[in-house]
Amino acid sequence: MRRKHQDVVFALVGIVALMIAVLTFLALFVNMALDGLPRLDWQFFTNFPSRRAAQAGILSAWVGSTLVMVVTAFFAVPLGVAAGVYLEEYARKNWVTDLIEINITNLAGVPSIVYGLLALGLFVYQFGLGQSILSAGLTLALLILPVVIVATREAIRSIPQVIREGSYALGATRWQTVRYHILPYSSAGILTGIIIGMARAIGETAPIITIGALTFIAFLPPAPVKAEPPFVSLDWVMSPFTVMPIQMFNWTSRPEAAFQDNAAAAGFVLVIMTLAMNAFAIWLRYRLRRNIKW
């Protein structure tokens, strides 16, 4: 009787704890949606920020966020996956790899502002990359690198050892085993980790402010495609920029109430972007895992 009583108590405590988390998020989200939704129209996405709240939009912010994410993914994915594969499939297990492992775990816990300070000194000044999309992308790539590495390692670890042995027994090299087995079978987990890392990066504000993103910007970076050869241009990576959370931060610091609604609307868009990325991750994992059974 007493044991069953304990069971019920624990279940209740659990439900309450869960509800606190869910309801807090819901309350925030609904509140933001109520304030912001009236502002959400086509112009909101196609207008630059403005001194008049009713005409202000998030064009430079969402374009900036998207471009920064492209740079982030470009650096974080190959580096993170390569590091994860190396640690799982190549590195001998000794004190050096233990040390690296502890380091990576700790890196995941470093406050993002610290990455911002590092990036300011290293990318912006030392490498002379300036307050550019490239600097921001590199900073966020560093920030999510531990997430990608850990996700890669977890995904690789779930591959049964008999699959590796089967490959090696046929005379495969390590690289052939990685190329034909390890990467294809772990791609679902790796992609999930990448997207979750990206979803975290897209909401980061502190390190981006630290490296000097503009808070008010009324132009877009140069287009990545040109009319004349070679048709592609990388000029945009050196362009000044702003991102979604900074645009929000800028608006919330204004005294006029109308700007608060703009901030709520931008926040709503940002949350939807993040949720969409997470949903995509779940869908992708489901789809890729369907064809893999041991």
């Binding site: 001998r92 297990k93 049964p160 008999v162 699959i163 590796r164 042995e165 089967g166 490959s167 090696y168 027994a169 046929l170 005379g171 495969a172 090299t173 052939q176 034909y180 087995h181 079978y185 064809n291 893999i292 059974k293 041991w294």
Partner: protein, 269 residues
């Protein structure tokens, strides 16, 4: 198999087939633990040699020395030699790349371990690993290997389907086909039927009987009846040592050592 009269037995012993591989004073260590203690025995060409013994006696460890599987894990160490004929190569030589060893020696595992790819890709993998680029050659060799593994008729219409759709017995024959596709000189079987039902087991045993016409087979088995059924030579191991090695009929009918007799008759083990 029926008991042979002793005169015939001697003839068998005298007319021993050629040696394909030979372990000479082979010891093996997992870190500080010595798992094999100075094993010396031959593996005869185009014969089936069975390794029997109680769990933990080192028979799987011994088998996995032949394709240097232990090299995949740190802290493992070999002593002694395994000489592979006809070129007198010491498989355990530090200067020899384990990949070159595995190019010549195939392996089939305890639990069927098809790759999560199509039936065709499973068998083609060994060829792709060797850099075979010709589609025609790959298709021919895959078909041949599936014929050799007595699987072609069952899978010829589902080559592009995932291998895990096959039954357990079919999966194991697929793994045998995968190993055969690269024409191994020696095929290692590590308890290949322990995860299979009796009917699938019978088909694998029958297959082994056919295969020994062209490839040397070394098999670890927990099942003594299986050793008696499929093998020409049997080695009994206990606690990392080779207790007895001989023609299967002799080992089973007139074991030289009391220990072997006790194990075979089920008094221990």
């Amino acid at each position: 198999m029926a008991a042979l009269p002793s005169a015939t037995q001697h003839q068998v012993v005298e007319a021993l087939p050629a040696t394909k591989a030979e372990a000479r004073g082979l010891s093996f260590y997992y870190g500080d633990f010595q798992a094999l203690k100075g094993i010396s025995m031959p593996v005869h060409e185009r014969q089936v040699t069975a390794l029997i013994g109680p769990s933990g006696c080192g028979k799987s460890t011994f088998l996995r020395c032949f394709n240097r599987m232990h090299d995949l894990y740190p802290g493992n160490r070999y002593e002694g030699e395994i000489i592979l004929q006809p070129d007198n190569t010491n498989l355990l030589a530090g200067s020899l790349d384990p990949i070159d060893v595995r190019m010549r020696i195939g392996m089939v595992f305890q639990k069927p371990n098809p790759f999560p790819k199509t039936v065709f890709e499973n068998v083609a993998y060994g060829l792709r690993v060797r850099g075979e680029g010709s589609r025609r050659t790959i298709e021919e060799k895959v078909e041949q290997a599936l014929h050799d593994a007595a699987l072609w008729d069952e899978v010829k219409d589902r080559l592009r389907q995932p291998a895990y759709n096959l039954s357990g017995g079919q999966q194991q024959r697929l793994c045998i086909a995968r190993a055969l596709a690269t024409d191994p000189e020696l095929l290692l079987f590590d308890e290949p039927t322990s995860a299979l039902d009796p009917i699938a087991t019978a088909s694998i045993e029958e297959l082994m009987h056919d295969l020994k016409k062209r490839v040397t087979i070394l098999i670890v088995t927990h099942n003594m009846q299986q050793a008696a059924r499929v093998s020409d030579f049997t080695a009994y191991m206990y606690l990392g040592e080779l207790v007895e090695f001989g023609v299967t009929d002799e080992v089973f009918i007139k074991p030289q050592k009391k220990q072997t007799e006790d194990y075979i008759t089920g008094r221990f083990g």
